[in-house]
Amino acid sequence: MSAAETTTAERVADRGTDPFLKVEDLRVLFPTEDGVVSAVDGVSFSVQKGKTLAIVGESGSGKSVTSQAIMGLVNRKTATMTGEVRLDGEELVSARPEQVRSLRGKRMAMIFQDPLSSLHPFYTVGKQLSEAIRVHQNVSKAAALKQSMEMLARVGIPSPERRIKDYPHNLSGGMRQRVMIAMALLNDPELLIADEPTTALDVTVQAQILDLLRDLQKEFGTAIVLITHDLGVVADMADDVVVMYGGRIVERGGIDDIYYRPEMPYTWGLLGSVPRMDVNRSERLEPIPGQPPSLIRLPTGCVFRPRCPYHELVPGDRCDTERPELLPVSPDHAVRCHLEPAQRREIALERLGAHLEPAPDAVGTTGMEDK
């Protein structure tokens, strides 16, 4: 048995337990004239097939750079990248660019926020789609075009035989986003990274697109990494959530952990900042004071310290000097905060009390029994 066969055999044996995507201590540094920007600072997470992981954060939290790093889209001449990204066991950070390129668009694909700037304005939809097929599959132009039409139909574009002759500017925003999704799905990727896929769209179109992603995931068992700042979309789509702030993961957990048992002051701030359609509208919003941090001069201790109203509850100046570790509070739930667990639960109850219980009209759904 050759060495290659052994690894394949091992990989098959591990597949039952190993996550499809595993990111381990990922760091991305951009040296600039003003100093080193640490955009991603020791990020670890994993996603199983058929599951959706949401990465939540504000501008500058490092969520988009994380996704570009996974896809191998970070320019290695201007950035330093360390850590591990394993796609079905295959390490990508140290891999040759050609190797990553052969996976990109085939085993892993990406949907970007702005379809107008991600589609080429000079080429027809059909040309762009069939090229994406012919890069990875040895098929004729006619066959690739036929495959493109089938995919357009599948993402809900009416009369695809006409649409493949259109240019991106002929299509509405929702249709363009569907074309992007169609392009991403052409080679049946096993991992789909969606970076703010619906931010530029109206709510009714957003609902159509999210529905489509959910159906496709059910059909193909795709692993999805969803990057967004919209907590409604996260609640709708995600199985697990990673909350990022200043390039670091500050809280990680199952969907119910993050919404019903949040333990990090930043997560409380996010949940308190969004107006909700389903509660009394006279309730005042509780914004997070201050501004997101500069990634060049990150605070030495906890990154959230300058905006955290609770740092005085921590004895000494630990929040200023000592970087908190991402410590587990339950098997799937981890938090980066110096506050004592009992303190955190008390504050969460006080701040978000009414929202920590599942909504009354959700009786009969899951989530009650693990209270």
Partner: protein, 346 residues
């Protein structure tokens, strides 16, 4: 008080103490053909006969998807665009026909806040210069001098008054929006039209700006026209909400009612499409998916403009334009087959 307006068409709420009254306002943009003559070949009907009123201290939200005419409506109310038809009254005075110069004194009373805080501020003027502009344009000389007044305003909106001489590029998006707000409230207006004031901001910053707008409203009895596509934000800040589709108002009612008992199928579809930041509520949420895209405002469908996407559309919807009518006290909808009351238990 409700009256049927003179033409016997749309029913609207008309209140005696209205600060602003918008009566069947239209805004068409002409489409000209090629060639030297620029012959008019059609119209983009951006706003089609919208009517509403606002009383002092009230917030009217205008929601709708891109292309529904909500921003054009805001600019037309402000007289930044000339209405094609209809009447706009401010404090009982007809301002529809006033020209630019005649509008200048009225700008003390009505102001605007824009969506993009990056392009709404002149990059070559200091913050102090930007916020003092209204004083200079209107020839207002505060007793303590303009600078002291502007620094008070800066402090009021949460900016550091010492940053008087800085330029807009030195501020973050949220801070720039605060500069725009300080400029808008400088002369204590009675009405501010806010066009997507928070949609370019991060969630945590969005909440700061929403709270600031609410505080200023309480302090100065401001009336807002709050235009946005984010239903959760609009519902949070508004007293009443108008839902627009393809240039027309489909439904107008109290903010609470628009969500809890939408009567127009479009409002119902729109509110049901908003994901809730609560996983259990999400699992239980009933969704109405709309098919297709927005029709073109150049050639809108006959009858009800929403009928091409409406799950309840019938022959009558193609033949007859539905008029706004009072379906419940203070609740107006333009639909031949309105939804039943109390769809969503509150």
């Amino acid at each position: 008080m409700t009256v049927v307006d003179e033409s016997g068409t749309n029913q609207v709420l008309r209140r005696e103490d209205a600060l602003l009254r918008v009566d069947r306002v239209q805004k068409y943009f002409p489409i000209t053909g090629g060639g030297v003559l620029k012959r008019k070949v059609g119209d983009v009907r951006a706003v089609e006969e919208i009517s509403f009123d606002i009383v002092p201290g009230e917030t009217l939200g205008i929601v709708g998807e891109s292309g529904c005419g909500k921003s054009t409506a805001g600019r037309t109310i402000m007289k930044l665009l000339d209405p094609t038809g209809g009447k706009i009254e401010f404090e009982g005075r007809d301002i529809t026909e006033l020209d630019r110069r005649a509008m200048v004194p009225l700008r003390r009373e009505m102001q605007m806040i824009f969506q993009d805080p990056y392009s709404a501020l002149n990059p070559r003027h200091t913050v102090g210069g930007i916020i003092s502009a209204p004083f200079k344009v209107q020839g207002v000389k505060p007793a303590r001098g303009i600078q002291a007044e502007v620094q008070d305003l800066m402090a009021r909106v949460g900016l550091n008054p010492e940053h008087f001489n800085r330029y807009p590029n030195e501020f973050s998006g949220g801070q720039r929006q605060r500069i725009g707000i300080a400029r808008a409230i400088a002369l204590r207006p009675k009405l501010i039209v806010c066009d997507e004031p928070v949609s370019a901001l991060d969630v945590s910053i969005q909440a700061q700006v929403v709270n600031l707008l609410e505080d200023l409203q309480d302090e100065f009895q401001l009336a807002y026209v709050f235009i946005a596509h984010d239903l959760s934000v609009v519902r949070h800040i508004s007293d009443r909400i108008a839902v627009m589709y393809l240039g027309r108002i489909m439904e107008i009612a109290d903010a609470e009612k628009i969500y809890s008992s939408p009567r127009h199928p479009y409002t119902h579809a729109l509110t049901s499409a908003v994901p809730l930041p609560d996983p259990n509520a999400e699992r239980a949420r009933e969704r109405i998916l709309l098919k297709g895209d927005l029709p073109s405002p150049i050639n809108p469908p006959s009858g009800c403009v929403f009928r091409t996407r409406c799950p309840k559309a019938q022959q009558r919807c193609a033949d007859e334009i539905p008029l706004l009518r009072e379906l419940a006290p203070g609740h107006y909808g333009a639909c031949h087959f309105p939804e039943e009351k109390h769809l969503i238990p509150v």
